[in-house]
Amino acid sequence: MKTETSAVPAATAFEPRITAFVCNWCTYAGADLAGTSRLQYAPNMRIIKLPCTGRIDPLFVLKAFEDGADAVLVSGCHPGDCHYTSGNYHARRRWTLFRKLLALTGIGDDRLFFSWVSAAEGQKFADLVNDVTAKVRQAGPFRAANPGRRA
């Protein structure tokens, strides 16, 4: 993961911890481009790279929340761009249903984010990270509100 440490915002009480599950071919390459382009963005995101969004089991998201993430981002190739043809289409269906289920249990769209970021969209990635981080910062720490927090 490439981040610019100089982008650390002024000290605040709460630094969100955001887990990002991204695909190897598009979003990870986009993040890489953001880094090599020396774009500055918030350092709050921990990226976990997987071959394809189709490989991102909803369990991963729950595990991230269970282990203390304040928010989760899932990102992959734009529709039509999947390295494996249809992995992102499969993933999209899953997420459409899964996010509704999580919303019902109190994990809403200030905690769970989805995006398509291509290998060419370094700027989009940087903007996305900044935006997501700002939203989560506003939402505050998740632990106390997590319906599945560790006892």
């Binding site: 595990k63 249903l97 289920l101 249990t105």
Partner: protein, 267 residues
């Protein structure tokens, strides 16, 4: 009605079209009964107090070893039989449905016939009004209130897996919670594992659940599991026109896709 059901069951056994009839027993609580002799078909009964989804037995190896079978099936169970057929869990021609509804015996059907019956007589099965009201009531609450609600409910879960046992859709020989390398779902009956377990079990049924209610009825702790199922059912219908249990050749919602699927929530 009972007479017609019993006669049809006896005939299936006589003609060896089934070696076993899985039905509801004429006893309090309407537990499952297994009839293999035509003369015992008088033990079969059906009424609105029948809560089990008998299609769940089709996942049990001991019963799979005794095919062909016939299953007493109200509409939700008929849908389960169709789903199981679509998911290749029922060997072709090995399971017949003794279709029932309220106070009517509707006949003997194979999966294709059951689907046809459902399409013609019960085309729009979905969550009952009372269930939708429960969903609506919960949906009105704030995210924090909903989180607190589920944290409190899931805290009661003892992880007895009665929900899984009750569900015909839960036929995996090794459930996700039993996979331990790595252990994705904590098996401890504590907040985090209980949340993950119940949410993932519901999610694994999305687009497949026939809203039979057996999981919630089976839960010793009274968890409102059907609220999860109802939300997923409505969403899958709205987004993907998912009607599980109406087409024995239908593709599962999760596992298929369309380029036109909505993704307005994606950034």
């Amino acid at each position: 009605m009972m007479k017609a059901l019993r006669e049809a069951a006896a005939k299936l056994l006589q003609e060896k079209r089934a070696v076993l009839v899985i039905g509801y027993a004429d006893r309090k609580g309407r537990p499952a009964v297994f009839v293999s002799k035509p003369e015992d078909c008088g033990r079969l009964v059906y009424d609105s107090s029948c809560r089990q989804n008998l299609a769940a037995y089709l996942g049990k190896p001991e019963l799979r070893a005794r095919l062909p079978v016939a299953v007493v099936a109200p509409p939700a169970v008929l849908r389960s039989l169709v789903v199981l057929t679509a998911e290749s869990q029922i060997p072709a021609g090995q399971v017949l449905a003794l279709a029932v509804d309220h106070d009517a015996f509707l006949g003997v059907f194979d999966a294709a016939g059951a689907a046809e019956l459902l399409r013609s007589k019960f085309p729009d099965l979905g969550p009952e009004k009372a269930l939708l009201e429960r969903v609506a009531e919960l949906s009105k609450k704030s995210a924090a209130e909903r989180a607190a609600f589920w944290a409190e409910e899931f805290a009661k879960c003892t992880r007895c897996y009665a929900c899984r046992a009750a569900c015909p859709g839960c036929y995996c020989s090794r459930c996700i919670v039993e996979k331990n390398a790595p252990q994705w779902v904590s098996t401890a009956a504590l907040g985090h594992g209980n949340y993950t377990w119940n949410v993932m079990r519901a999610f694994h049924q999305s687009g497949r659940c026939t809203l039979c209610g057996a999981c919630e009825a089976a839960c010793p702790q009274g968890l409102p599991l059907m609220v999860l199922n109802a939300v997923l059912d409505r969403e899958a219908l709205a987004e993907f026109d998912a009607r599980p249990g109406y087409d024995p050749e239908g593709k599962p919602v999760i596992g298929s896709w369309s380029a036109e699927d909505d993704h307005s929530y994606m950034r």
